[in-house]
Amino acid sequence: MAVIKTNKLTKRFKDIVAYQDIDLQINQGEVFGLLGPNGAGKTTLIRTLLGLISPTSGSAEVFGIDIAKDIMSIRKRTSLLPQECQPYENLTARENIRLYGLIHGSKTKEEIDHKTEELIDLIGLRGRENDLTKEFSGGMKRKVLVARALVMDPDLVFLDEPTTGIDILGARTVRNLIAKMSKEMHKTIVLTTHDLNEVGELCDRVGIMVNGKLAAVGTADELEDHFKAAHLEEVFIALATGEGIDQFVTSQVGWD
């Protein structure tokens, strides 16, 4: 079942095309990696799907709901970890997680309290939960943010470059959390990243955006086979430099 389905979705800022004619389907329980060079339109696409930006043309449905018609119903079942996001530094880890859950409003106070404690254990911050997050390392802050994105128990999670700017150990912790979200909690996850190892490790399928177009969609193996590449990195470079875009038509291999 498709959680996200877009049809010729296009966004232009005056003369600049953010993304164009995006036809995409992301299925329930899937971890979908959205790849692309900086400025490819990944973040703008996510913002559109959450109603933060209106598309110029085309349509999109999330959970079968048109984003132009009832974005609030969509937001009630989704959460977002934005790019370069920081937790509130003057709040404790617990407050950061709990208050976000309460603001989201999709669960009762008791449920949020229970979930908060569960997540504090899950991210390994027990004992530091009452410390202000300004005292935390980059990795710990990311853990708080991931927990914050999960506290409302969403069906769909957008993670916009969740491991950018943190050290290897921090990134490893965040990846483990994402894997747990997928395998144990069965969340649908849309992940944008520049780390191809992360994609290989976590994502069921990958979409590569170049210059606002969805240049390729498929599993990592499918893309490597099609481009006769040894690694996904080669596919990415081929597409990003303009080689192979015309040859590889966007497809939804194996997931219809």
């Binding site: 800022f13 996001c85 920081q86 530094e89 208050l99 603001i103």
Partner: protein
């Protein structure tokens, strides 16, 4: 969970993180007290020489008709006479002259012709009015002060002498009217009081200026700082309307501004008791501050609502700002409007009740605070003729400003365009 719970949670989040900011704590809790202290400092520049009246003649004409055994005119003269022997009194060293004069139709002309200055005339109905006064709006017993134009420099000194007497027991309600020469009259409305010095005015002006500036860090932290710190986007992705987000941010600031308003009242009491303790009123020729608990409550409301209007306008206007510096500059620029209105009001509010300028919230706030401290000031009948009525109209106005600005902001930038992150 209900919509209200979401808004409350957002407000609580903002309030909690701001209350832990040292800069905001300083502005909310320390600055109000410092402002009151600064006023004392400025007042100290106005301290007059205690010896101004030494060896001067003060003419006192007591026309008062006693009622039964009560003769308040005589009480006044007795206290005035005593005060000429007290070196803490502004009347210290003056010589009281009490010529017996009757049947004068125009006292101004009379004193001018006979060069009797400064002169204090106690009218015939002084005791009668004193005894009849029961409630606000009743005619207030008053004495008249006459000065020759050549003695206009004594104006504040002679007012201070009279004010000191009449603002203390057994007098508590009084009026001071001035008459300089024969051609100039301040046209004080009947039953009203003129503040003796600009120093009295400063208090309420300072308060409102501070109330306009205080919300700035809360305004800039609500959206612009969140944008800089990249914490805003996940809030915007919540299932909340634009108005609800604006309202939540507004309420978060409003919680802290309660503290600002409360600390202003603390400052007011410290100010008042310092003035009482040091007899500062006499030194700077100010009317004595007269406050009661209900009036303090109304003053609190007025300060609070003024801060809320500034907060709402600030949040509404700066909600699209992506940088704190831009938001601060914009906020300061927008606040020039109330500052300009206040400055304008100073020019045209001179004693004119029912002045349309009071329809604007900021001059009205000043009037209400001033009225709270000086109950018999000429601003008695600013709008409705009743202090309580004025307060309710004031609250209504300010609430309209608050919700109006937030609604307009949400409407104009709504439909997903409020926070156009990709623009």
């Amino acid at each position: 969970m209900s919509r209200l719970s979401q808004i409350t949670a957002l407000a609580w989040l903002d309030a909690r993180r701001n209350i832990r900011s040292k800069g905001i704590i300083f502005i909310i809790f320390i600055v109000p007290v410092l402002v009151w202290g600064a006023q004392l400092g400025i007042l100290s520049l106005e301290v007059v020489e205690d010896t101004t009246m030494q060896n001067r003649d003060i003419y006192v004409i007591n026309q008062d008709q006693p009622v039964g055994e009560v003769a308040m005119g005589t009480v006044f003269v007795t206290i005035l006479n005593q005060s000429t022997y007290l070196n803490s009194s502004p009347a210290y060293g003056a010589h009281l002259q009490q010529p017996a004069i009757e049947n004068v139709s125009n006292w101004g002309d009379y004193f001018l012709d006979h060069e009797m200055s400064p002169a204090i005339m106690i009218p015939a109905n002084f005791t009668q009015l004193y005894l009849n006064y029961a409630q606000e709006g009743d005619p207030i017993p008053r004495v008249w002060i006459y000065l020759l134009p050549t003695d206009s420099s004594l104006q504040y000194d002679i007012e201070a002498i009279v004010s000191t007497i009449t603002s203390n027991a057994p007098f508590s309600l009084y009026i001071v009217s001035r008459f300089v020469g024969t051609r100039y009259n301040l046209e004080v409305p009947e039953g009203e009081e003129v503040p003796s010095d600009i120093a009295s005015w400063m208090t309420s002006f300072f308060l409102i200026y501070a109330a306009l500036i205080a919300p700035m860090p809360l305004v800039t932290s609500s959206f612009a700082r969140d944008n800089e710190k990249k914490t805003l986007e996940s809030i915007l992705a919540m299932p909340m309307s634009q108005f609800d987000i604006l309202l939540g941010k507004f309420l978060g600031g409003a919680i802290l501004l309660l503290g600002f308003s409360f600390m202003n009242i603390v400052g007011l009491f410290l100010y008042k008791y310092y003035m009482d303790f040091t007899h500062y009123y006499e030194k700077v020729n100010m009317l004595q501050i007269q406050i009661t608990l209900p009036r303090v409550f109304f003053m609190f409301c007025s300060i609070y609502l003024t801060t809320l209007v500034a907060l709402a306008l600030g949040i509404a206007i700066t909600s699209r700002m992506k940088e704190v510096r831009t938001a601060e500059t914009t906020y300061n620029f927008v606040m020039l409007i109330p500052f300009a209105i206040i400055a304008l009001s100073v020019l045209i509010m001179d004693p004119e009740p029912y002045n349309p300028i009071f329809l604007l919230p900021w001059p009205h706030s000043i009037a209400i605070i001033f009225k709270g401290m000086y109950p018999n000031s000429f601003l008695t009948n600013t709008m409705t003729g009743s202090y309580t009525g004025d307060i309710f109209i004031h609250i209504a106005f300010l609430l309209v400003y608050v919700f109006g600005s937030l609604s307009i902001s949400a409407y104009l930038t709504g439909k997903g365009k409020l926070f156009s992150l990709g623009d």
